[in-house]
């Protein structure tokens, strides 16, 4: 790992609440963005290279060549579109139950928890992003995304991984193609038990650090 003094730090906060009271919480540094995020940046910068996105469905590239001329938007999947709505697990923060070690080459949570009230399921609230434009009041905390997940299954669920997914469509030469689910970030976390009736809140907090 390169030791860098400045850049963007991403922290991961988990809290479990019951009847609105916090019964457990943890704060840690996020492990990392995965390759898909790197390709987002690279592809957006040069607009000519092939995109290397891996969809979560099968890890395959959705197409072989997205290169395009400037003005025709060779930028494919330039937006991540993480703003999941209620009950939406196609995008946003997702929880999972696998503690398979992290790798930048992963393209999905290893065992994502689906939305619902059945056994092993959680009910996903809408994503929230703050601060809302154009308020950037604090120079220290510029970006926070968070989501509640309620355990209405009737039994305890143990969370071991967290991910951030996007659900963008892609476009080349002005034509649109179907949306695909893409993972951008994955964290393996210490066992976090969410009992029946409790709510898990997950926050990713990004801030700049100046050396």
């Amino acid at each position: 790992m390169n030791i860098m003094k400045s850049g963007v730090v991403c922290n991961l906060h988990l809290s479990v609440t019951e009847n609105g009271d916090i019964v457990w919480e943890s704060k840690d540094k996020s492990h990392s963005f995965i390759n898909n995020f790197a390709y987002l940046i690279q592809h957006g910068m040069d607009a000519q290279s092939n995109s290397d996105w891996r969809s979560i469905s099968n890890g395959a590239y959705p197409a072989s060549n997205y290169g395009g001329a400037i003005g025709y938007n060779g930028c494919v999947l330039a937006g991540m579109y993480i703003i999941g709505v209620v009950n939406d697990t196609t995008r946003g923060i997702i929880a999972g139950t696998s503690n398979t070690p992290f790798s930048v080459s992963q393209y999905d949570l290893q065992s994502p928890i689906v939305n619902g009230t059945g056994s092993g399921q959680m009910t996903y609230a809408a994503m929230a992003v703050s601060p809302a434009y154009p308020t950037f009041s604090s120079p220290d905390i510029l970006l926070e995304v968070n989501r509640d997940m309620a355990n209405n299954s009737g039994s305890a669920i143990t969370i071991r991984e967290i991910g951030l997914k996007g659900y963008p469509s892609y476009v080349t030469l002005g034509a649109f193609y179907p949306k695909i689910e893409v993972l951008f970030l994955r964290d393996v976390v210490a066992d976090t038990v969410v009992n029946a009736g409790q709510v898990l809140n997950v926050k990713y907090i990004l801030k700049t650090v100046v050396a």
Binding site: N35, A78, P168, V171
Partner: protein, 215 residues
């Protein structure tokens, strides 16, 4: 019911998930390497996080409006943009380009002569060195990208740009930055060079920025 003890603790690891480094290679007028400087980049400015936010909320399809995002332009004014404004096949979908052509200062790596300390609210170089062969000007080549490098869980994105002094007098480079072009030009990285670099007449500097994502 399963109970857990509170695990709240202060963070001790504040090393960046996303960082940058620069490498500058100075060539004399005969093309020989004269000097090499390597260091961590000192500052992703706020615009970079605004860009991450833009990517987060951005949608690039009809009907997926996305949320508006604000950036500071080179004048320091906050400009609002969203990906959902037609025409849908233009760069405003989300490309923030650094693929500068020859002489293009709207994007890519740029050099300057300012020396004011970096802050994360910076929105432009202190004093950009313009393109040309007149007094105090540098000739900027086009941006070159390396393929994405993945070593272990570290991903590195490298781009570089040659700048040459075709004037008859030395030119001092004391700051560098990365400009990105969407519907406006924004600065996302700025660094002060200590010590500064002096390019004699006929000399060149290859300036490389590496964006590093640590897993």
């Amino acid at each position: 019911m399963i109970t857990m003890e509170p695990q709240v603790e202060e963070l001790t690891d504040v090393s960046p998930n996303i960082g940058a480094a620069y490498e500058i290679t100075v060539f004399d007028k005969d093309g020989n390497v004269k000097q090499v400087i390597k260091d961590d980049a000192k500052c992703f400015v706020q615009n970079f996080l605004r860009l991450v936010r833009y990517w987060f909320v951005n949608a690039n399809n009809v009907g997926d409006v996305g949320a508006p995002s604000g950036f500071k332009n080179l004048s320091g004014s906050v400009v609002q943009t969203t990906s959902a404004l037609p025409p849908y096949n233009t760069i405003q979908f989300g490309s923030w380009l650094t693929n500068a052509g020859v002489g293009d200062l709207t994007r890519g790596i740029v050099a300057g002569s300012g020396s004011v300390a970096v802050t994360d609210d910076d929105y432009k170089l202190g004093s950009i060195i313009t393109n040309g062969s007149g007094s105090g000007q540098l000739s900027y080549d086009s941006t070159v990208f390396n393929p994405v490098s993945i070593v272990g869980n570290t991903v590195t994105l490298t781009q570089m740009r040659m700048t040459s002094n075709f004037t008859v007098n030395p030119i001092v480079i004391s700051e560098i930055g990365l400009y990105m072009l969407g519907i406006i030009t924004i600065m996302t990285i700025r660094d002060i060079l200590v010590p500064s670099i002096t390019l004699g007449a006929g000399e060149s500097a290859l300036i490389a920025y590496k964006i590093i994502i640590n897993g």
